[in-house]
């Protein structure tokens, strides 16, 4: 165990984009509160370094100058070997430090090579084996590789995964935290940004500082780089007009990158069209700043607004960090439950019907055959307005009024359809942080009664399995599944895999027994290389049994999509066996099958429970009642 009194030197490798960096910062903040002695160094790409530079509790920011390193290779002025030397010199500035923890939160190929170079007491995330194959070091990294990066439904937020991963490692290697760490992680002053006179954005800064700060400001992040992830600009404009009509105290600021400028132009055109008699005063209700902010001004604006409306993950992560409430209009192939708003009282709006374009994105082999159009952007401005009006009046109704009751009182003269009609096409969720005794972490409570589909069912069960595997926390079977949300379709899908779910439990159990025999037999060997012919045959037979059982697990995973979680995790676990002797490998294999057996048993129990819910219940006859 590390010495508790000396600083714990921790290197975080985050070579991802702004949204990944902000998520890492959120997780780190929670960890730093519990372990104030942590000395955090942060590796980041130059282009995305601004966010980290302004965090006072980060000891040192190490910048990877990607453009300076790769530019000469691309323009042919540097050879590969010369660039490797440059990389060695760059890495040399922190590779000589004896780290306590090296945490690779990038989960990419490139970052895994860098992690492998560094020496440390504890490593987390992706690294490389001695044969250069990628390695997932810890349990949560296995989960990310097998489940998340393979698009298996699950709904544990990435911030929770990163926080739990590091906290668990700290508890093991440093000890329990000194304080309870119940102070809030989010803060308007998360970043310590000095007042600058950055001339490039001084005009925007001036505009923002001269706004009417007595108004309720709402920031709209107009979009992201990928078109399919954007809600269209005219919908944003219609939502704005609706809000201004019913809430004249509100004002808007438009945010985004340079590439979002066309959307801003379209927004302003639609806004003007919907306000034909708009005068100067009307126009001043919207400040267009798209492409006119740096990170510093962007975060200052988001921190000073009451709300952020966005479909962009980076803006959502930033608003989460700064404690600004979020309306997430979630459009496109986004795993929003993993990267959505973090904290209490944020809202997420999605279309109800599955989007063919997004489904094709999840399975790229289908997308190649047919380019599917996206229908996930078909969220009406009226549905968005209804959601926001409910959310922003929570202080008054204190949620004693249901969302549907609230919407039944809403009247939008400009819409030919009732609000109820608009809501039929969407799903609305409210974020909530669970109490520690309930498992902790953020979850999204659905506000509209919708039937549960197989994906949602699987994601609930996989969450519980992950908590059992990596947190040792097992909730009561069936928590979160109600009879009312179960449909005949779901029951049919569960029934078709009932037999396979029972079978996979038995296979894992048998594999565990075979691995135990293998471990015991190899432990009695004097050498792994020299043994009697009989012993060799016995060991080979056991290994062949395991290969056959692995094959069966894989076949079941191929037959039933939800069981693919187990065949994936088995592959990752087996790939990461580290033992050098037969006994070690036997022991590690036994532990892998034990883990798999535990997971498949939970899966089977939840399946049985859900099918039980749908069984007809005998009711007492009228005669008996008399």
């Amino acid at each position: 165990m590390l010495n508790e009194t000396t600083p714990v030197r921790c290197l975080i490798i985050q070579l991802g984009k702004t949204s990944d960096i902000l998520q890492s910062l959120m997780a780190l903040r929670a960890v730093k509160q519990l372990y104030p002695a942590m000395e955090i160094h942060f590796v980041v790409r130059e282009r995305f370094a601004s966010a980290v530079k302004h965090v006072v509790w980060i000891e040192k920011v190490i910048i990877l100058p990607t453009d300076a390193l790769l530019g000469p290779i691309f323009n042919g002025t540097h050879s590969e070997d010369e660039t490797i030397e440059d990389l060695a010199a760059w890495a040399g500035q922190f590779a000589h430090i004896s780290w306590d923890f090296v945490v690779n939160w990038t989960y990419s190929q490139a970052s895994s090579f860098l992690t492998a170079i560094l020496s440390t007491k504890v490593k987390l995330g992706y690294s490389r084996h001695s044969d250069m194959a990628i390695s997932a070091i810890d349990g949560w990294s296995h989960y990310i590789q097998a489940i998340i990066q393979n698009q298996i439904p699950q709904s544990i937020h990435l911030t929770d995964i990163l926080t739990t991963q590091l906290l668990t490692a700290l508890q093991i290697h440093v000890g329990d935290p000194a304080n309870a760490g119940d102070s809030p992680v989010t803060s308007k002053t998360f970043f310590s940004i000095p007042v600058t006179d950055n001339t490039a954005y001084s005009e925007s800064r001036k505009t923002w500082s001269e706004r009417d700060s007595g108004r309720k400001w709402i920031a709209i992040q107009l979009g992201s780089l990928r078109k399919e992830k954007n809600w269209n600009a005219s919908s944003w404009a219609k939502l704005t007009v609706n809000i201004l009509k019913h809430h004249p105290e509100c004002r808007f600021v438009l945010l985004g990158n340079e590439y979002n400028r066309p959307q801003e132009v379209e927004f302003m055109e639609v806004f003007a069209k919907l306000n034909p008699e708009a005068d100067q005063v009307e126009a001043s209700k919207v400040i267009p700043l798209t492409g006119k902010t740096d990170f510093e001004l962007w975060s200052e604006i988001i921190a000073s607004c009451r709300w952020v409306f966005s479909g962009d993950t980076a803006a959502i992560s930033l608003a989460s960090l700064l404690g600004t409430r979020i309306l997430n209009i979630s459009v496109g192939p986004v795993r929003w439950f993993e990267t959505g708003p973090y904290g209490n009282g944020h809202y997420v709006l999605r279309t109800e019907a599955p989007c063919e374009g997004c489904l094709a994105h999840e399975k790229p082999e289908n997308a190649k055959q047919q380019i599917m159009s996206h229908t996930c952007g078909e969220i009406s401005p009226e549905a968005a307005y209804a959601t926001w009006s409910y959310a922003s009046s929570e202080w008054a109704h204190r949620r004693a009024l249901s969302f549907e009751e609230h919407c039944s009182c809403l009247k939008l003269a400009e819409s030919s359809e009732s609000i109820a009609e608009h809501l039929k096409r969407v799903q609305v969720f409210r974020s909530k942080v669970r109490l520690v005794q309930d498992g902790g972490g953020v979850y999204y409570e659905p506000l509209l009664d919708r039937p549960m589909d197989i994906k949602e069912w699987v994601s609930i069960v996989i969450d519980q399995i992950a908590r059992a595997w990596y947190c040792g926390w097992i909730p009561p079977v069936g928590q979160g599944i109600s009879r009312e949300r179960i449909t005949p379709t779901l029951i049919h899908q569960l029934r078709t895999m009932e037999e396979s779910a029972n079978l996979i439990v038995r296979i894992c159990e048998k594999a565990g027994r075979v691995a135990t025999v293998l471990e015991n037999k190899s432990a009695r060997l004097k050498s792994d290389r020299l043994m009697g012919a009989q012993k060799k045959v016995e060991l080979q037979a056991l290994a062949a049994d395991l290969i056959e059982l692995d094959g069966l697990i894989e076949r079941l995973g191929n037959m039933h999509e939800p069981l693919r979680a187990f065949s994936n995790i088995l592959k990752v676990l087996m790939h990461n066996l580290s033992g050098s002797t037969l006994t070690d490998l036997g022991r590690e294999s036994r532990l892998c099958y034990k883990q798999l057996h535990e997971g498949t048993t939970i899966f089977r129990d939840w399946l049985k429970f859900t099918l039980g819910l749908a069984k007809p219940v005998a009711i007492r006859t009228g005669l008996e009642l008399v």
Binding site: G16, E80, T83, I84, A88, S108, A110, I117
Partner: protein
């Protein structure tokens, strides 16, 4: 180049030794892998 890689490992080989150790070669391979993966990411071949 060997100098930087050796420094990276916190080890400097004895003067006159020209053969890179296995550790040097491993680090060089890792750096090469790192560079190639960065190039792939930059060219959009792999997700960042």
């Amino acid at each position: 180049m060997a100098t930087d890689i050796q420094l990276l490992q916190g080890e400097v080989t004895e003067e006159g030794s020209k053969e890179p150790s296995k550790q040097d070669r491993d680090v060089e391979n890792l750096l090469r892998g790192f560079l190639m993966a960065l190039i792939d990411e930059q060219q959009g071949k792999r997700p960042c």
